[in-house]
Symmetry: C2
Subunit: 345 residues, 2 copies
């Protein structure tokens, strides 16, 4: 299928491959006349060329969801439904096995065009003595997992790729909220190598498995160990828990969307706080932002939605923001040595 | 019912009266075990005392909606539903006759405790020669409408209070998106007086009726005419429309919630743009913020959701944001002299 020059150019220039043909085919085959489109933040600027391409090829009307979309946990069926959307195209994330969309949804990968070779080869200098490597990656580099495995095996390493839980879409997948593929093989590896992803994934694996972790930074073409970042993160979280100890009123944040909803957990945390003589307010919200929390005016907040936000974005919030695990530590129900990242696995 | 000291104090200190007894009674009578609570931004800090009061009196579990709530058009049933909410308490806004909540909802006023007398008496110096006044107010000062009418009549004015359309909850109500109570009586008055509200309400009435408008600023205890503000607003909007004329790609923003959804209008605007040789992307979103629009990367945006945001908040957005009316003017389908505020009436 030949696309108009502009659409082709914009898509061709992107670091990520978005298969417009596959999308158009999926829309055409479904017979849908109204289609919803979800894109991760970094690909939102491809909305115009994609939409024009789909409309040109199929005659369907396309509506973009313009709210932030951080994963397959971020579905917006409740917004698409009233507009008569019959099919959702979700680009850039793998589906989550434990989250069922209400509207028929096609999940399409947006693989990175970048060559993982340089970063993986650089990691050979960082992996250390142990001969057994646990290999992990994100959706964007899934297609390169085999190449990465080969590079490691050719260098004499024994490589394991873990299977993990229902939320994951493929073996070796790591999510900001799910490290089960790492835990699956932690006892039979010496070091983990994550191809792609960011510091949060790496420190998450390190905290979940107590194994050394090396991250192959595909964009920079080099690898690094994560001990310093891990240490910094742990010290920051420790300081936040300390601050929260002096707080009296707590907001427990719940996200209503299926991929991030932990209502029972939120209620049990509220009870835990009441038992400890604190005050707790259950709060449901769409987008967790500092202004919203300042408006409600409580001393501290516990986030039962996306675990990554709490750890990565603390500096944006003028008050302590805790994960459920950290609240338990704060209330003395768990020790600091038991500290683990909050996960959905 | 005697409340604990803290709840009573916090509620007692607020500029707005929130009747905790009435709320508790409504919850108790409904038999609801899980209750949702919505509060306007300025009253979000009353969440804790209100929730404690309700839970203490009824044993029901309460969940606060912590997203911004600007009116009865801002319902969050889709977020309350998955949590099993059986009753919603919506404080501070009157219901909108054209918006039906999905979950049983009790709308409770939060009347201002401030005396409207000083501001209304000050307006007597600003009202001008004509003897006929159209009286308007917002939900917060609804209870003081009769007093205001009396002050005007005692001073010799003839006062009319318009009825308006389905969206309104009481005669004389003015909303940022609905000026029908003003239009109802515009031909039989010389000047409008708005008790309370802000510049946007006042300029909205001025633009909708082409009559002089005086605003009785209850918080300051004084009144002012709005010609300068109106003039500034019109000049700013004219400049924005000019800028938009040079734009090629447009995003048409749709809000999915019942109170703000104009899907058909959005689609017709997209067609209008295509016919004029421009490119258009239909976009549904929850919270319209500058970052979100920058991410999609279009030249300009047309907002079919809350009209007030487009006019009041333009300075926050680095690109032109237009109302549907302004887009029509930009495309030459209406003249500048026909300029009216975008409304839902």
């Amino acid at each position: 299928m030949a696309w108009n020059g502009d659409a082709g150019d914009a898509l061709g220039r992107s670091t990520f491959q978005v298969d417009l043909d596959a999308i158009a085919r999926a829309v055409y085959d479904s017979g849908a006349k109204v289609v919803g489109l979800q894109l991760p933040e970094g690909l939102k600027r491809l909305a115009l060329p994609l939409i024009e391409g789909i409309e040109q090829a199929t005659g369907a009307k396309v509506v973009l969801s313009a709210d932030p979309c951080y994963g397959a946990c971020d579905l917006v069926d409740d917004q698409f439904d009233p507009l008569g959307v019959q099919l959702v195209i979700h680009v850039g994330h793998s589906p989550m096995g434990d989250t069922e969309p209400r509207i028929p949804t096609v999940f399409l990968d947006a693989p990175s065009r970048l060559d993982v070779g340089p970063a993986v080869r650089d990691s050979l200098y960082k992996l250390g003595r142990g001969g057994r490597i646990g290999l992990l990656t994100t959706t964007q580099h899934k297609h390169a997992l085999r190449d990465a495995k080969e590079i490691l095996e050719n260098a004499g390493y024994e490589v394991s790729v873990g299977t993990g839980g229902r939320r994951l879409a493929f073996p070796g997948q790591v999510l900001g909220c799910d490290f089960s593929a790492a835990k699956d093989v932690e006892h039979s590896v010496d070091t983990f190598l994550i191809v792609g992803g960011g510091s949060f994934h790496a420190t998450g694996v390190a905290m979940s498995t107590r194994r050394p972790v090396v991250i192959a930074d595909v964009e920079r073409g080099e690898a690094r160990t994560v001990e310093e970042e891990l240490d910094l993160t742990l010290r920051r979280r420790s300081a936040t828990i300390q601050k929260a100890m002096d707080c009296h009123t707590f907001g427990i944040i719940i996200e209503a969307r299926p991929g991030q909803r932990r209502w029972k957990l939120a209620q049990s945390l509220a009870k835990m706080l009441h038992d400890a003589g604190r005050e707790a307010v259950l709060m449901v919200m769409r987008n967790i932002s500092p202004d919203r929390l300042v408006a409600v005016g409580l001393d501290a907040y516990v986030n039962t939605a996306c675990p990554r936000l709490t750890i990565d974005d603390q500096s944006l919030f003028p008050m302590p923001l805790l994960t459920p695990v950290e609240l338990r530590i704060m209330l003395g129900r768990e020790g600091w040595d038991d500290y683990l990242l909050d996960t959905f696995d």
